[in-house]
């Protein structure tokens, strides 16, 4: 059931989600997206270009964060605009062969703005990993019924 604009108010929370990430997840994202930059799967390459280690694709973080909005909206097609700035990399440690994640991304969303004329709500996402904001101005505009 999709939310109705009349039931919403700016500042209202839409929920939260935790995304656990492993090195295997980054390999899967590389294959699915076609982005094979080795900084996302090869430790030696990543440290060789002055990164602290293997980092998640910014687009993995962006793409997984928006699922909170998709599920809340009830229809992925309702997300008509989605933007972000990438501020901090998400460092993913190598936990291959264990049940532990290599990083944990926390996502929460609030209603930023309602546009009754357009029938849209802007959802502002807060996305953190290791206690730091990794996305800034992460905003999804949702068409409401």
């Amino acid at each position: 059931m999709s939310p109705s604009i009349t039931d919403l108010a700016a500042g209202q929370e839409i929920g939260s989600r935790t995304v656990e990430v492993t090195r295997t997840d980054l390999v899967k994202y590389a294959g699915a997206s076609g982005d094979f930059n080795p900084i996302h799967w090869n430790e030696a390459f990543a440290t060789g270009v002055e990164l602290p280690g293997v980092i998640a694709h910014g687009m993995f973080t962006m793409g997984s964060a928006v699922q909170l909005v998709t599920d809340w909206a009830g229809d992925p097609a309702a997300v008509v605009d989605f933007q972000t700035r990438f501020t901090k990399p998400v460092l993913v440690t190598d936990t291959t062969g264990t049940a532990e994640p290599g990083a944990t991304i926390e996502v929460s969303g609030t209603i930023g703005k309602l546009d009754a004329e357009a029938g849209t709500a802007r959802v502002d996402l807060t996305v953190t990993a290791a206690g730091q904001k990794v996305l800034m101005k992460a905003q999804a505009v949702v068409k409401l019924s």
């Binding site: 699915a32 793409g63 992925p76 097609a77 989605f82």
Partner: protein, 153 residues
């Protein structure tokens, strides 16, 4: 290596066609840990009024990054890919992307700004779905900024 300042205003016409397949939508959805049934189950998608599986909101990055590759791999651009950092990204969907769409992207270089020894380059991909004959429908506009780090950045 220095960025060619004449890149601003340059366009790359639509090149290869990207055929959106159901299994690619499912694969991409799993890769971003999406669970909405409209990405996986045709009946669930049609129950929402869609003609086929719906792509996740960031799926268009596949097509946009293929278009960007034309610029990044252009020797005349002077871009060292190993020094590229993704700075920002936006998707504006004029309509959703569905399985069965045949998509093309036109790439526009909207901005080139020197930053220290590097440069911030803003590109825009206009993604269209091909229809019958010469018909094409605007589907998604993506904009992205990349920072090409200079020496010591």
């Amino acid at each position: 290596m220095t960025i060619n300042p004449d890149l601003q205003g340059r366009s790359y016409p639509a090149a290869e066609v990207y055929d959106v397949g159901r299994e690619k939508i499912r694969e991409f959805a799993r890769a971003v840990k999406a669970t909405h049934p409209a990405h996986f189950d045709v009946d669930a998608a049609t129950a929402l009024g869609h003609r086929d599986l719906v792509a996740p909101p960031t799926f268009a990055i596949i097509i946009a990054q293929r278009a960007d590759a034309q610029l990044i791999e252009d020797p005349d651009a002077g871009i060292d890919f190993s020094r590229v950092v993704h700075a920002d990204q936006r998707f504006t969907h004029h309509r959703p992307i569905f399985a069965g769409d045949r998509l093309v992207a036109e790439l526009h270089v909207d901005g080139v700004r020197a930053m220290g020894g590097g440069a911030m380059i803003t590109t825009r991909s206009e993604i269209f779905a091909l229809g019958d004959g010469d018909a094409r429908e605007q589907v998604t506009t993506t904009t992205s900024s990349i920072l090409v780090r200079g020496e010591g950045q």
